[in-house]
Symmetry: C2
Subunit: 464 residues, 2 copies
């Protein structure tokens, strides 16, 4: 980190490159850029924050940082859950918030081009106004940016039917560490032209360059949707229902696993509340044409009841249905208010291994004597064990660390992966080699060194 005088000189240089409106160096302005939503990773304030208004400015700042070997941390909304945009080495935070224009929505080609700082929910609204549909829906969609979604390969509940951000990105414009600009991919839905740098940047967490523009493919907007709740006696039964309906071709747009404790919390919003008589709940949304939704609802009902589910509730009233999804999206904020600190885990297991994973998390929670909530996107196996800190003692921290380690190990043992949609950031770097193995980790580090030989892009992330 810089001294006050070098920080002043840095500010002057950055203003020359990006304009005075784009540069912040006063400590009170920098304070908010210490971390993403994982505030417990905050350590340093950056030396400067730059909000470039176009790719040229971003390129000029990166060329300068490269020359002077100044660390650069790319940032979207800062809503990440892995510490990905924490400026651990100080330097410059390069914030994309002002790259916020939707550059074009092409109905004939069913694609769109947006700048990296466009807020996801704004983009949803814009395409839906044209009868189109962009499925990725991380729960932070009211603030998170398309560029951040690309950086973390973000998912969301609709991934079960529609996949994650990686399934929609067709191309990116990115500024590399040395300031050079590449246009990877295209606006075509089919392309086989050299290495797929588009998907190499997708999920690279700002360590290879700054994504400034994104091209995505769009779908036609489903005309109908319907919410359903399945009340199951046990997690096993819930998992059977999940496998059964998906294998029958009735793939819901969203398929959330909700344990009893979470449903009780959600009941403060669901109207009318649900009698919480089962151990496990499946909350789903079916979408498509009217006929298709009706057909899927029928498959769901008969299959779930055949498998012994206690109740299948198809919510006909739209306002009632909305209370379920509002409750689901408020679940994490509600949990945040209940505990001193919350860590949301993000392990994904093959979807047929969910019951084993649920049992293992219960065992870990019991053995360590700590509270672990467990919801997740059951349809795609992405589970979010959530550790609730009842206090902030070193003992509690140690137990949480132990729980995370056990959860991650169990996920890998079941053929799973240590992160489904949050990314690695700071939070998971110590587990990276467990999943990747030495040879693969070495290959990744070589790619990093090839594209960013001075190591200025988001240092300390993915690995140290």
């Amino acid at each position: 980190m810089a001294t006050t005088s070098t920080r002043k000189a840095l500010g002057k240089d950055l203003i020359r490159l990006a304009g005075s409106r784009a540069v912040f160096t006063a400590p009170e302005d920098l304070y908010a850029f210490q971390s993403d939503a994982t505030h417990y990773f905050a350590r340093n304030i950056p030396d400067a924050v730059v909000l470039p208004e176009d790719t040229d400015a971003a390129s000029a700042v990166l060329a300068y940082a490269y020359e002077h070997e100044i660390p650069v941390t790319p940032r979207g909304a800062g809503s990440g859950l892995s510490g990905g945009c924490t400026p651990v080495a100080g330097g410059i935070v390069l914030d994309t918030k002002r790259l916020n224009r939707i550059l074009g929505i092409n109905r004939g080609n069913m694609t769109a081009r947006v700048q990296a700082g466009v807020v996801l929910e704004d983009f949803h609204r814009a395409v839906e106004k044209q009868g189109l549909f962009y499925p990725p829906d991380p729960q932070s969609m009211s603030v998170c940016t398309l560029g951040g979604n690309v950086a973390t390969r973000a998912g969301g509940p609709r991934a079960v039917k529609y996949g994650t951000t990686g399934n929609y990105v067709l191309g990116v414009e990115a500024v590399l560490a040395d300031g050079s600009v590449i246009q990877a991919g295209s606006d075509c839905v089919k392309q086989s032209v050299g290495y797929d740098l588009t998907h190499l940047f997708t999920g690279s967490e700002g360590t290879l360059g700054l994504v400034t523009r994104v091209s995505v493919r769009l779908l036609p907007k489903p005309t109908h949707r319907r919410t359903a709740l399945v009340v199951c006696e046990t997690p096993d039964q819930a998992a059977q229902v999940v496998s059964g309906i998906i294998a029958a071709g009735a793939v819901p747009a969203m398929l959330e696993y909700v344990p009893q404790a979470a449903l009780s919390l959600m009941n403060s919003i669901i109207r009318p509340p649900v009698a919480a008589q089962g151990e496990a709940y499946l909350l789903m949304e079916l979408d498509g044409t009217e006929a298709r939704v009706a057909e899927e609802a029928e498959i769901l009902r008969s299959m779930a009841l055949d498998l012994g589910a206690e109740e299948v509730r198809i919510v006909e009233d739209e306002r009632e249905a909305a209370t379920y999804w509002k409750a689901r999206s408020r679940l994490y904020p509600m949990i945040l208010t209940m505990a001193k600190k919350v860590i949301s885990e993000d392990v994904t297991v093959p979807r047929d291994r969910i019951p084993e994973f649920v049992r293992a998390v219960a065992e870990i929670s019991g053995r360590l004597g700590i509270l672990i909530g467990l919801g997740g996107h059951a349809g795609d196996g992405n589970m979010h064990p959530t550790i609730l800190f009842t206090d902030l003692s070193p003992e509690m921290e140690q137990k949480a660390e132990a729980a995370i380690e056990d959860i991650v190990k169990k996920g890998l043992e079941l053929g799973g992966t240590i992160s489904g949609e949050h990314g690695i950031g700071l939070h998971k770097s110590r587990f990276l080699e467990w999943e990747l193995g030495r040879a693969q980790l070495t290959a990744m580090k070589r790619i990093k060194a090839a594209l960013d030989p001075k190591g200025i892009m988001n240092p300390g992330k993915l690995w140290t």
Copy 2:
């Protein structure tokens, strides 16, 4: 290339590493490994061909080749159309044909693991027997391998609804140039764990390593399908029908653009033949549930007739429908028999630019005075202008080169890409920088050097 005596020594060493059954060094055995389906690129026979029976043998051969700096050309079925597996520098051809086991189909998780040499059609049959579905369907599916599909990011007619190989690959096992083995990706449908090496290898054309195993996601098998033919007056009208039905949410599984000349050829197989009274035809297959297929057929019929199409024929009889698709898959072989030499181009344009592209190809064909057939996967904009050589004169070669250059330029001018699904290989390397730009090409070369510092993997491909 090696002398006879060094070739003998090489053979001995390879037998020690991979077993005598796996190694071929006699010229008569090597002859067939000079090229892929683009025989006109054949120059050299390799010094040896190795067909490893497991990953360990492949790893041992690569470690040896790396130590001795011997070029290695990975090969699947050799059905590629870009010269991708042509051993331009001699050395070892590493053929995956014996890595041909389906390792597991997981119904509960809707995924499968296969060795790289599994033939696509065999895999289709195996998953469909279990009520599952693997959409990618290059026309060479009766011979091509999953590993080759990954290497070229292969597509096929069903890409319009279902995407290409890249949309299904979840993970790969690959042997790097130095013999080390990585397990990239996973069997989970969601993952955000470091760089996406799975998709970096997908489309890398054997230049980064040898893919030995592939994990893919599967879909439920559609229960119903129906073939439809739309007879259009002009290519413009056909393009309007394509955009219209896709925007209405009726996305066919296959949507082929067939010009009049091609339909006339196909009529030798279609029973009963079609009266070829339009300039442009759209051949489609709708798939899904019975209700959904009926709904889409209705949308297609009313929209196509509203847009002025001459006729919409929904083929109810399954045997009749099969003759259309048989005719489509035989089209390329039929064209091959008509000409002295055939070059199949593979430009993709945004789908709303197809009419402009069709007009441009007609103009190029007229201006140069050569025959260019033009079919393609209209639904995703992937067009295959096909140059028919009436003789093998240098003048004809020059005209073909000029035509290819003009076609590629036009594709790029329309916002398209120089290859949709065949890859770059030898055939397109001279155009690569036009599409990628200098900075991106440099980035790709750096990645190549990082993972294969001695440049032994498939030298001379993508770029020289």
